[in-house]
């Protein structure tokens, strides 16, 4: 049964549901529920999503070839069972956390991931605003360890698809807070709204895919606050809806900074340092500046990385 399950492409099955949920959200917002749309922004998001699918199909064979090559050199033979499905799903989500954190902290990966953050809106169409250059940025390498361990490629792909589907519904302002236990364990609309916020408080926080526990464990969790509602987008919001520019703007920024680099160190910073390093606007710098301006003390963090309220 598991053998048959993992041959399913869950994302392909979910696409009609994605469309239906976007229509429901559009109507709900029109009727006065919390949220917002702009047809131009939605258009860009959907075209980015469609382009991402096409790009994935174009380079999918090459990525699959690499994946199979790695799996052929696996350390163990992990069987296809319910327990391996569950284990693979959890480990894949941990891998997603590492990927996502890297995608915000390393400009090379950010050049691909920034597309997803380039909307100033936060709705279900934003979930579909995906990169066209994911394979070029080598983002798939974060899934290779699972194959090296020995999880079958079909299982890894299946778990990745389910992870992606889960992340769709959290891109909404319609849902306020989920039950407390759910907010404690799972990534939710509230946690992910904070992730998309460019308020200094929220920069480079909440990298989770499905389980928010990774952020709580590794000290990157930040709760959404009613007194500091997230402002969505990127530090320098794009001045156009042109999908091609959305897709390549950061890559061109890297090329420009590389061309102007006067040393190997500067060239390395242009490629691999945190985004904003060369302009003095990294997430850490902006947060420190905000804390200094507002007289906000950096929150103490306990051993688990969770923010500890001041006495």
């Amino acid at each position: 049964m598991i053998d048959q399950l993992v041959t399913i492409d869950p994302v392909a099955i979910a696409i009609p549901a994605f469309v239906a949920l976007i229509i429901i959200e559009l109507l709900a917002v029109r009727l006065g529920w919390h949220g917002d749309y702009d047809w131009r922004d939605t258009g860009t998001s959907l075209v980015m999503g469609l382009g991402s699918t096409i790009a994935g199909a174009v380079v999918g064979g090459a990525v699959a070839g690499i994946a199979i090559f790695v799996w052929q050199h696996r350390l163990f033979d992990v069987p296809l069972t319910w327990w391996s499905l569950a284990l693979c799903f959890v480990l894949d989500d941990l891998g997603y956390y590492v990927f996502h954190r890297s995608a915000h902290r390393v400009r090379w990966f950010w050049a691909s991931h920034v597309i997803h953050h380039s909307s100033q809106h936060y709705n279900l169409s934003t979930a579909l605003r995906q990169t066209w250059t994911g394979a070029f940025s080598l983002g798939f390498i974060f899934r290779l360890p699972l194959l090296l361990i020995g999880f079958p490629p079909a299982l890894v792909i299946f778990c990745g698809g389910v992870n992606l589907i889960y992340q769709f519904w959290i891109h909404t302002e319609l849902v306020g807070r989920m039950p407390r236990w759910f907010e404690a364990v799972m990534n939710t609309p509230s946690h992910h709204r904070a992730h998309h916020g460019i308020n200094p408080r929220y920069l480079d926080r909440n990298f989770a895919g499905v389980f928010i526990i990774w952020d709580r464990m590794f000290g990157t969790f930040e709760a959404e606050r009613a007194d500091d509602p997230p402002r969505y987008g990127i530090i320098r919001n794009l001045a156009t809806f042109n999908p091609l520019w959305v897709a390549v703007h950061e890559w061109l920024g890297i090329a420009r900074d590389l061309a102007g680099a006067r040393s190997l160190k500067a060239a390395w910073a242009a490629i691999a340092a945190p985004p904003g390093t060369l302009s003095g606007e990294t997430a850490d710098m902006l947060r420190a500046s905000w804390q200094a301006d507002a007289g906000v003390a950096a929150p103490a963090r306990n051993q688990a990385g969770a923010a500890v309220p001041a006495e």
Binding site: R40, G43, L50
Partner: protein, 122 residues
Amino acid sequence: MLVFSLIGVALLIGLARLLGFARRGGLVDAGLAERLAVDALPGFRPCDVAVSRDGAGALVAGRDGRVALVRPLGDRFVVRPLAHPLVARAGAVLRVRPDEMMFPETALDLGEGAASLWAARL
């Protein structure tokens, strides 16, 4: 499959427009321009602002000498600190373009005196 996807995308965009999600952000409020600049630029403290009479954008000067351009994009706004912008004045209209690819020129109708003043400032 691609054709169906394209039709689906077009229908969703059309539905969003049909439902009225097609506002254009006009910038007629100096306070809003200042707030947007403060939100976008760390440490920015506005001391002067000039808003285009047609809502096409605004210039906000900071106490530290920086000047920010604020202009609408769809129903939102974009802000840029102006370093080495291209500036041209024709009477009451000041045309400003940041030194950045794909950032469109913004024509600000500031009035003759203000346009002259801000042109000198940039």
